[in-house]
């Protein structure tokens, strides 16, 4: 230890360090800069200079060494016509007898699998389904490992495009694979009913686990199993004329497949000379140009939004002979894909952005939150330190209160105080006036006015924080109750009652919470209006900022895209709206909160706004971020984009459609979370069914339950 003229900020004895001073003075600029910088950086990631070319990290795939021998194209055509005949006979169901007969004919171990979905909302509705699968036992292995080829079967009456060609292809592949001697892994051909639900049920039954809530999806049991699943590929071909292959990768909760698998498919297509795309978009022709960057960035954003929704985009791929190559490469695998090649974004088919490249921009976007929290903390310390020098506070007969939010002492809000003690403190204060001492902070000389109010204030801070989370949790678990009430007493359909219930709850909270809080926090402090709430406002503010930052980080680890969307939407408001002692010299009472917190799905931002009227503007700014309102807004925009003609003459039908989209979104997200255990139920999930296309589009934004589903 030694003396220095200029030092690091390690000694409080000499006031603030330079860095700290810079931080405090310029924190708003810094936060804004880091936010904008982060966003710009992220947009730049689509440029080749900022991302990397894909490569194979798993050499055992030996992707170049496979020579395809597939010669069953003719039989595929036969299968297709047979399937079409069968489909005419069973317009609503899977042609099980035919399918099972075909698989058995190929000498595969053929089994069926029944599953049941107990609809979680509303009383006692049940849906059943049946999967068929055949296992090709590995001639050169001990059935300890398996590859899966799945085909979702869609009866003609389904709203989705048919997958009959892919079933034909799968069967012809099975026929071809059967004759080969080199398989070291079991190959399971799985035909599922009810799209993702069927796959989910089959996987749950295969592994003997349950991901969703108990008793919702009854996965049943399997009578035959292969080895542990190494890789799976889902095949969807809508016609027998294949023009291009689109690789779809986003899974449940934004999980991604190993990049090697994706690369493998692209590489194989390249070798075959088949047009292969990602997000239905070709690679930019010249990536160095502005157009090239725009193109790549557009692709990137499409991926971000799909991943952020956390809803798997089911139609996985469109393959032809490539499938054989892929399976033979996979057959070479020595071990499961294990390298951490699961964290990536793709701006093109042959470029990728790894976790090391995309985390820094997110860090910059969210970093402002930490800076802000730190500055607020410093200011709070400073306020305490400076207070003994204010004549007024001394004469007010205030008592001593030192609040340390250090570590766990946070919770010791309710510290006993006695008034007489202050007489003694008076002497200390005299000492403090001493110029010699004025440079040093004095831990015990922190003064304030009206201990009573502080104590209540801190209690309130904790109460607000806790109750916001408790209300959020309660709402989260209330979905069933709401629908039952709606159904039994009002005769409303599920979606409607759920939506209305949430809207009412949110409105109540928005209106009631601030009123209750402000009235309650005003009452017990007759001492001084100034001390009312002001002391604990920063504390709550800091807690909320830190919570947002932490949650952001945790989410972005799970699902980067969701974290990114979340950060971009909420950071600016969090940064802008957090006033402590505002510039106008008004004591600030407004605490901002973060609506979609860890558990508080519907804890509206309004919760925290114990503001007075003058904070109205800020409150209005927060309102759109309140989940249910955000949901409506997103639905409106989405509907406007999907149905521009209706948007043109903005009338009732447009609003109805948007409204039903919003309520459907809510319902589906709830049901999804019950059935799949998706760790976030997307609130603002908007879904529309463009009848002509019959496709399903889903966009969702906010996380409800943060993490740890497993």
């Amino acid at each position: 230890m030694k003396f220095k003229k200029m030092g690091l900020l390690t000694d409080p004895g000499a006031g603030r360090g330079k860095l700290t001073q810079v931080l405090v003075c310029h924190h708003s600029k810094l936060c804004a800069l880091s936010y904008i910088g982060g966003v710009i950086w992220f947009t730049l990631l689509a440029r080749d200079a900022f991302n990397a070319g894909t490569y194979f990290s798993e050499n055992a795939l030996l992707p170049g060494l496979v020579k395809e021998e597939f010669d069953e194209s003719a039989i595929a055509k036969t299968y297709l016509s047979e399937i079409n005949d069968e489909a005419d006979r069973y317009p609503d169901a899977v042609p099980y007898p035919w399918l099972i007969a075909k698989l058995k004919q190929l000498n595969l171990d053929t089994y069926t699998h029944n599953f049941t979905l107990h609809y979680p909302l509303g009383p006692g509705r049940k849906f059943t389904g049946k999967n068929v699968y055949g296992i090709l036992r590995a001639p050169r292995g001990a059935s300890t490992e398996a590859l899966v080829l799945t085909v979702p079967y869609r009866p003609p009456n389904s709203i989705h495009p048919t997958t009959a060609p892919s079933l034909a292809l799968a069967l012809s592949l099975a026929k071809f694979f059967r004759k080969q001697k080199y398989w070291a892994k079991d190959i399971i051909f799985l035909v599922t009913e009810h799209e993702q639900l069927g796959v989910q049920a089959w996987l749950e039954a295969y592994h003997g686990v349950s991901c969703g809530r108990d008793g919702v999806l009854d996965a049943g049991s399997l009578s035959g199993r292969g080895g542990s699943i190494q890789a799976a590929i889902n095949l969807e071909i809508h016609s027998d004329q294949v023009a291009s292959i689109d690789v779809k990768i986003e899974g449940l909760n934004g999980q991604l497949p190993n990049l090697d698998l994706v690369n493998l498919v692209h590489r194989m297509c390249l070798k075959e000379g088949i047009r292969h795309t990602f997000k239905d978009r070709d690679d930019p022709r010249d990536s160095e140009t502005y157009e090239g960057w725009m193109h790549a960035f557009h692709t990137l954003m499409l991926m971000v939004f799909t991943q952020a929704s956390g809803v798997p985009n089911g139609n996985h791929g469109l393959f032809h002979r490539v499938v054989e190559r892929v399976f033979r490469s996979l057959n070479n695998l020595l071990e499961r894909f294990h390298q951490s090649f699961f964290f990536y974004l793709l701006p093109a088919t042959d470029r990728y952005i790894s976790i090391g490249m995309y985390m820094p921009p997110l860090g910059m976007i969210g970093g402002g939150l930490l800076i802000k929290a730190f500055v607020l903390w410093l200011k709070m310390q400073e306020d305490k330190e400076s207070s003994p020098y204010s004549e007024k506070s001394r004469r007010d007969g205030g008592e001593v209160e030192e609040k340390r939010e250090n570590g766990d002492s946070d919770k010791e809000a309710k510290i006993a105080e006695d008034k007489e003690e202050n007489k003694e403190k008076g002497n200390n204060d005299e000492e403090l006036r001493d110029e010699e001492c004025s440079k040093l902070p004095n831990p015990a000389s922190f003064k304030e006015q009206g201990v009573q109010s502080i104590r209540n204030g801190l209690a309130w801070a904790c109460a607000v924080f806790l109750s916001a989370h408790v209300i959020g949790l309660a709402l989260l678990s209330s979905t069933k109750g709401i629908t039952v009430i709606g159904y039994e007493y009002l005769g409303l359909p599920t979606e409607f009652s759920l939506f209305i219930g949430f809207v009412i709850a949110s409105l109540l909270l928005i209106v009631l919470f601030p009123v209750v809080c402000s009235s309650a926090s005003e009452k017990p402090s007759p001492c001084k209006s100034q001390s009312n709430g002001t002391e604990w406002a920063p504390f709550l503010n800091i807690a909320a900022l830190l919570e947002l930052a932490t949650v952001l980080l945790a989410i972005s680890m799970h699902n980067f895209s969701l974290g990114l969307v979340y950060a971009v939407v909420f950071t600016p408001s969090a940064l802008w709206i957090a006033p402590t002692k505002s510039r106008f010299g008004i004591e600030a009472v407004t605490i901002e909160g973060f609506a979609p917190k860890v558990k508080s799905k519907t804890s509206p931002a309004g919760f925290y706004q114990l503001g007075k009227l003058r904070k109205g503007i800020q409150r209005i700014l927060w309102l759109p971020l309140q989940p249910i309102i955000l949901l409506v807004i997103v639905s409106l925009i989405y509907t406007a984009v999907m149905f521009p003609e209706e948007f043109a003459h903005f009338d009732q039908s447009f609003l109805t459609r948007a409204f039903s989209a919003a309520s459907n979104a809510l319902t589906f997200s709830v049901v999804d979370s019950y059935a799949y255990g998706s760790w976030f139920k997307a609130v603002s999930q908007s879904r529309a069914k463009p009848g002509a296309l019959g496709g399903k589009e889903t966009t969702s934004f906010q996380p409800h339950i943060a993490f740890l589903s497993g």
């Binding site: 220095k4 030092g7 006695d418 945790a554």
Partner: protein, 448 residues
């Protein structure tokens, strides 16, 4: 320190109520968690349950013991034989009261810490009064404040009772609850000047988890302090008795253990496991990753290095520097052992964290409180997140988890160094006055 009796009574009444409320809240929270559906999840977390303290292993060992199979013959059970005997008795006779026993032990620990803090406050005041003459003139406002002294014990109790780490540790029914109890008893005996008792409790704590052995140094320092005229002789004698009692008690317990487990092979299972780290299940510590990655023939070298780091490395220098503050030394050693031990759990970390508010008068000198707080918060959330990604989603890997635990350990080390440096800065200011100048310009203290 002026305080009228009236105030004393009044404040005591308020504090008593608060303390009771805290105990009640903490007790209810713990009891609820133990009986809730989350208990299994918490008990299964690697951060909370390690091979050394997990209740599952205890029940396994007890079952084997009851069946007449030596639990130490396998590598499943690492509790001490006395622990085995006690848990066997508990499981036989009061298995329905187990939750209550764990909660009561934890509450008792909190109370012992509270008492410890009270004694320590008295000691602080006495030290200050004794040394007041040697302080510089202008230090009036950095002297101890009555308020700090009055509130610190309560804060210590609250910091243990409401500590999420302690809460989880108790909810998972880890045997760390009892280790902490022993450690707290040893600290209380030490700080209250009962040197014989401190020797005994220290022996028990050491017997349980080995690492508290280093606390014999601060214990001896306390024993050597005597304020009477026959300073040196009494001091030496007391040091001698403390060490003697410690060794004798330890020997006695070990012999009793040998009797219980009929042989000395338990030593290998209990202390061998602590020292040689055979079980490399991930935990919040630093051992598992290194020893998984390392070439096998370097193992003994690194074991020695790591264990020296955890046990002995800091004792010498810190003892010399903190001669005048033995309890701070004890805190530093406990905290360091919690970071560097081979199988740390959150329960181990809770104790030194809970002791922190005793040094409230140093908080103004601490610079990294906020940063450390953020670190602890973020790593506590991120740890389970990346664990999930690693184990369940299989997308992340061990490096992610180790990275997070590394940050967690770093944060704790920051906290310790910050506290120690704050102490040194305050001492310096007390001796040399507040105003420091070099060449007529204000200077500041910098750690280099």
């Amino acid at each position: 320190m002026f305080l009228s009796i009236k105030i004393r009574i009044k404040s005591f009444a308020i504090m008593g109520t608060l303390l009771l409320t805290l105990h009640a809240v903490a007790g209810i929270a713990r009891y609820w968690l133990i009986n809730s559906e989350y208990q299994q999840t918490i008990a299964g977390r690697v951060e909370v349950s390690t091979p050394l303290n997990s209740w599952k292993r205890v029940t396994e060992g007890v079952y084997l013991y009851q069946e007449g199979i030596d639990p130490y013959s396998g590598d499943m059970f690492h509790e001490t034989p006395v622990g085995l005997y006690v848990f066997d008795w508990l499981i036989r006779n009061c298995s329905q009261w187990l939750g209550i026993i764990f909660v009561a032990s934890d509450l008792l620990t909190a109370h012992l810490l509270y008492m410890t803090a009270k004694y320590f406050m008295v000691e602080l005041v006495e030290t200050e009064n004794r040394e007041r003459n040697s302080y510089a003139k202008d230090v009036g406002n950095i002297l101890l404040k009555e308020k700090d002294l009055r509130e610190a014990p309560l804060h210590v109790a609250a910091a243990y009772l409401l500590n999420p780490y302690a809460l989880l540790s108790c909810a998972a029914l880890t045997t760390t609850v009892f280790s902490n109890l022993c450690l707290a008893s040893a600290l209380l005996a030490m700080v209250s000047g009962r040197h014989i008792l401190s020797g005994v409790f220290l022996a028990v704590a050491t017997y349980q988890s080995l690492y508290p052995a280093v606390l014999i140094v601060p214990s001896c320092m306390y024993a050597a302090r005597s304020f009477g005229p026959s300073k040196t002789i009494t001091g030496k004698f007391k040091v001698f008795t403390t060490v003697g009692v410690f060794l004798i008690s330890l020997a006695f317990i070990l012999c009793a253990s040998a009797k219980i487990s009929s042989g000395w092979h338990f030593l290998n299972s209990v202390y061998g496991c602590i020292l040689t780290v055979p079980d490399l299940r991930p935990n919040v510590g630093l051992f598992w990753y290194f020893f998984t990655e390392m070439f096998e023939h370097f193992r003994s070298l690194f074991l020695a290095a790591f264990q020296l780091n955890a046990l002995a490395l800091y004792v010498g220098p810190l003892s010399m520097r903190l001669r005048s503050a033995p309890f701070l030394l004890a805190e530093a050693l406990v905290a360091l052992a919690a970071v560097f031990r081979s199988y740390p759990s959150l329960g181990d970390i809770a104790l030194p964290l809970a002791l922190l508010p005793m040094w409230r008068h140093l908080f103004a000198y601490m610079q990294q409180g906020f940063i450390v707080g953020c670190f602890l918060l973020i790593t506590s959330v991120l740890g389970p997140t990346v664990w999930h990604l690693w184990i369940y989603s299989r997308s992340a890997n061990a490096n992610f988890y180790f990275g997070v635990t590394l940050f967690f350990a770093t944060a704790q080390i920051f906290l310790i160094t910050d506290l120690l440096f704050a102490h040194i800065k305050r001492e310096f200011s007390l001796r040399n006055g507040l105003k420091q100048e070099i060449d007529g310009k204000a200077a500041k203290l910098v750690l280099e």
